[in-house]
Amino acid sequence: RGEGCRMGDGGPLSAMRLDEGMKLSASELEFYAEDELVEVVPRFEFNDEVCMMGGNFGPFQPFIPTKVPLWLAIQLVQRKLATVQPPDWLMVDEIYELYEKENSTRDRQLLQKVPFHYREIATLILRHCPEAFAGREGKVRVLLKDIEDLREAKLQTSLRELNDDHPVINISNIGAMEMNKMRPFLINALHQFRDLKRGEEAVTQGSQALQAQD
């Protein structure tokens, strides 16, 4: 009995990639983000270095913090071999400050400086090691959501400013996932503006050539 299955993940043959300019799916972006280093506190001992493509990690001593890639940190947490120390920018006070800054620049559409993969890292750490926030995880989630919404709104406003005279938008300090989400729409819009502009240039060139003939 045939069971159709549909993967919405934008795999290689997905229509999204073929037509519309989504070059990188969200899962793939998350995969890249997992290379970022985070601090873990191991509960095990391992006296050799682990040599990997991303670098050498270890040796691991119990209760001595050390930096490893996020994917490794998650694996260790899942096997109860370590706890993750969330990065400084993700702790409640810093997140709150970021929220305040985003909120105060809301009208000027300026995005605040954030780690490039802030969304992916925050999502993964909140999902796999919530206890690392010592009970304040809920507050962090709420603040993060507000920050994300504020930034999205600013980007949306910037997109609205796009027109043919002014085919640039300011996306300084944009995050990886935000950029990925915006990419298909923005590229198609820019293509359309460009095509119209080129058409205009072709017409003016054509009429100049005709005038030259007369």
Binding site: G4, C5, D19, E20, S27, K181, N188, T204
Partner: protein, 186 residues
């Protein structure tokens, strides 16, 4: 884009846009069996043919009603109210071809203004998945606008699925679910 992509379906369909042409000379050989018309008569030919004949001055190509000055003036008033797809599903691209062919810079400028206006509408609406009028709205969009809308919407849906961890879910395709229901009632 004076000449379309040879293999692109969109280009082929776009170049079928009917264009009224005024015959300057009477064709005596070749196409004359199909295109017999005395000098001065106005007929409608597909864009690709009109362009070829116009470049040799056998005909004088004019702008069709869909892109004529009155229609453009109406668009200028409020571009978002019109169903451009009804006029021509490739409104912008055919319009560019037409304006190059007839040397009409105002046509292309009107297109730019219309698109800048309609773009704002697309931007407002692509994110609202509960919008009941989305279907009717999409029908009014030209093929290029549709691609823009759909790309934005799909990207948005994809990323909210990621957020909710639904990306790794394997779901039944809707077609198989329908046939299951049919079996149950028989």
């Amino acid at each position: 884009m004076p000449v379309g992509d040879y293999y692109s379906l969109d280009s082929i369909l776009r170049e079928e846009t009917p264009v009224p042409v005024e015959f300057q000379v009477r064709l005596t050989k070749g196409l004359a069996n199909i295109l017999d018309a005395p000098a001065g008569e106005v007929k409608e030919l597909p864009l690709w043919l009109a362009r070829a004949l116009d470049s040799k001055d056998y005909v004088y190509a004019r702008v069709p009603r869909t892109h004529s000055k009155p229609t453009l003036a109406a668009l200028k008033v409020d571009a978002s109210k019109h169903s451009l797809s009804k006029l021509n599903p490739y409104y912008y691209e055919a319009g560019i071809d037409l304006s190059i062919m007839t040397n009409d810079a105002e046509l292309v400028q009107a297109l730019m203004i219309s698109f800048a206006r309609r773009y704002k509408d697309i931007l407002e609406r692509y994110d609202h998945t509960e919008d009941k009028n989305a279907g009717t709205f999409i029908k009014t969009l030209t093929s290029e606008e549709r691609r823009l809308y759909v790309s934005g919407q799909r990207s948005s849906v994809h990323h909210s699925k990621w957020k909710r961890r639904m990306l790794e879910h394997i779901e039944h395709a809707p077609i198989t679910q329908m046939s299951n229901k049919k079996l149950k009632t028989s």
